[in-house]
């Protein structure tokens, strides 16, 4: 078979595979349709260049294959052609880069009404904290973390007392309400990623990183850790349940606040040893 035909079949096969592949992204369930559009544009630019270059090769293989009586033309440079190629490449690169910058700007501009959620990651699991009635999360420190204070909330921070604590890897979100995910890690790098929301960010120990999204489809989704974090990385999963307002409020009402937790522990402990410990932390 002529090599040009084989080459052409490779091009055709690549395109057909792209169209009919069973491995494509999951259905989107958030506001980040722009991310998908950007990737689609990347496919178009990259795919277009791939097909154009390969077809040109096929053409050359047919047109300029070896003939005994033909001599190669000497043409070391062509200013015009080189200029066209340079500008076309520049345009292609701009098309690849510019939409990303626009999306990134939206990504770090969090809407005012976004609900803040503290996502705390450790080896290997998740837990979540929602602001209480005051609408604000209390400040935290890794050094405060212990059995009585699983989130390491600063005890002298008045905003922290009514925080809703979800000590489980499952969290519920309200449909069509933007959320600001505040990521922190107590040990190594992690990444709270729900493929359907099309958004992720590393959780870095020592800093709080953030991103936002607005879920717009009710249902249950799987959380994956998207930054390699040690031997249990593959099993570091969780679930997100996106609910309508009423169901969400019911669920929220059933959750425990930090005050509840403190009270429960005081009842459990005979004597005031643990409270004294808390008070000590308070003074520091």
């Amino acid at each position: 078979m002529h090599p040009g035909i084989i080459f052409f079949l490779v091009i055709l096969g690549s395109i057909l595979f792209h169209i009919f592949t069973p491995w494509y992204w999951t259905d989107i369930a958030s506001n980040w349709g722009g991310m998908d559009d950007t990737i689609t544009l990347t496919f178009w630019v990259g795919g277009g260049v791939f097909v154009a270059v390969c077809l040109f090769m096929v053409y050359c293989v047919f047109k300029f294959s070896y003939k005994e009586d033909r001599k190669a033309e000497y043409k070391p440079e062509d200013k015009r052609l080189e200029k066209i190629l340079t500008w076309a490449t520049t345009l292609g690169v701009i098309a690849l880069l510019a939409p990303g910058l626009i999306i990134w700007n939206q990504y770090v501009t969090v809407p005012k009404n976004a609900l803040e959620i503290d996502v705390m990651a450790w080896q290997w699991g998740w837990q979540y904290r929602l602001p209480g009635k005051d609408g604000k999360l209390g400040t935290t420190q890794v050094i405060n973390i212990n059995d009585e204070n699983p989130f390491g909330i600063n005890l002298d921070d008045p905003y922290g007392k009514d925080d809703v604590m979800i000590q489980s890897d499952a969290i519920n979100l309200k449909n069509n309400r933007p959320v600001k995910i505040l990521l922190r890690s107590v040990d190594v790098l992690h990444n709270w990623y729900v493929p359907q929301f099309r958004a992720k960010m590393d959780a870095v120990p020592g800093v709080v990183t953030f991103y936002w999204f607005e879920p717009n489809k009710t249902g249950e989704y799987e959380v994956l850790c998207a930054e390699y974090c040690g031997v249990g990385h593959y099993a570091m999963r969780g679930t997100v349940l996106v609910q309508d307002e009423q169901e969400y409020e019911t669920w929220l009402g059933e959750q425990e606040t930090f005050l509840d937790l403190i009270a429960k522990q005081q009842n459990l402990v005979i004597g005031d040893t643990k409270l004294a410990k808390n008070n000590n932390l308070n003074k520091e």
């Binding site: 033309e73 080189e82 890794v142 107590v186 190594v188 870095v204 040690g230």
Partner: protein, 347 residues
């Protein structure tokens, strides 16, 4: 170096005589005068050891680099088979535990990127081709060149040794992100990671010796008439890649040293206050992001350190086998240099 310089002077004296005293005052680019450079004393290994083992001949060093790189490449290849085996038939092989899988991924990545490709293209092709293609007698520092290879060889030996230490090689991912890399939750967080860091440091030191050689040979030891704009694109690719490598690898070296200190002496360059199994560790105040900056200051250029020599080789191969000169040679040179410059913006 000084020998060659002297040779040039004698040669100029000779040529002005033969041309009847009307020697051009400025070197003529188009007319290359017939060179009559007297023979030079070049390195000649006579025993087996000096000829094949501790050899200062760039061609032999090139082959040594090539073979060592291919050997590590085969190890990396086998690791990738094992990974594919696990993906295709999960649990079919009993030894493919999660720990081993992560270790193989890590070692495969590091071997292929650093110990195979970089060593193959720059160490192997670089040493073999540069003197031949620019018309130099040998590398300008043959002895340093020999040491460069043996540093690389020791680096590979240390890397391979990490397969046989307690806990096995590091399984931290080829990016080696702290704090995970040196904490017990990662396979090979004991000896494995230390050997990896030592091996990387040795590699960078060895490569710096080789890299200086490539740069200075290309800039200083070209034959008469071999102007920069006449060099084969392969040499341009290797040259630009070496410039990138000389700027990028030091970042890897310092991050390896800093992480070694974090691991052994308990410094906190990359370690913030963290909790391990409910206990607060003694680290505090460091930044994992700092490591990522240093690592990717090396990692992004590394892509083109590997790619640019290949670009050059492909250009030359296609032009030779299609019996055409390279179209737009000057633009190609500037494109290669431009890729090198843009590369550092990518970081």
């Amino acid at each position: 170096m000084s020998d060659e310089y002297d040779n040039n002077k004698t040669y100029q004296a000779q040529s002005s005589e033969t041309m009847g005293g009307s020697a051009p005052t400025s070197p003529d680019m188009d007319y290359v005068r017939p060179a009559e450079i007297p023979d030079q004393e070049l390195y000649h290994g006579h025993s087996f050891i000096t000829k094949w083992v501790f050899c200062q001949d760039a061609k032999v060093i090139g082959v040594q680099y090539f073979l060592t790189a291919v050997f590590t490449g085969i190890v990396g290849l086998i690791l990738s088979w094992l990974m594919r085996l696990q993906l295709g038939f999960p649990g079919a092989a009993g030894f493919m535990t999660a720990e081993h899988y992560y270790q193989f991924v890590t070692m495969h990545g590091m071997i292929m990127v650093v110990y195979f490709l970089t060593a193959l293209f720059l160490g192997g092709f670089g040493n073999y081709l540069i003197p031949l293609m620019v018309g130099a007698r040998d590398m300008v520092f043959p002895y340093v060149n020999m040491i460069s290879f043996w540093m690389f060889f020791i680096a590979v030996a240390v890397l391979m040794a990490s397969f046989f230490v307690p806990g096995g090689p590091t399984g931290a991912g080829w990016t080696l992100y702290p704090p995970q890399t040196i904490l017990p939750g990662t396979p090979g967080a004991g000896m494995g990671i230390l050997l990896m860091l030592v091996s990387l440091s040795l590699f960078v030191i060895g490569f710096t010796m080789g890299g200086l050689n490539y740069l200075i040979t290309i800039l200083q030891a070209r034959t008469r008439g071999m102007t920069l704009m006449r060099m084969p694109l392969t040499v341009w690719g290797i040259f630009t890649a070496t410039v990138l490598a000389m700027l990028a690898f030091p970042a890897l070296l310092v991050s390896a040293i800093m992480m070694t200190l974090d691991k052994i002496l308990g410094t906190s360059f990359f370690m913030p206050t963290i909790l391990q199994a409910g206990e607060v560790l003694e680290y505090g105040g460091g930044s994992p992001i700092l490591f990522q900056h240093l690592f990717w200051f090396f990692g992004h250029p590394e892509v083109y350190i590997v790619a640019l020599p290949a670009f050059g080789i492909v250009s030359d191969l296609i032009s030779v086998h299609s019996r055409k000169n390279i179209f737009g040679y000057r633009m190609m040179v500037w494109a290669i240099v431009g890729i090198g410059a843009l590369e550092f913006l990518e970081y």
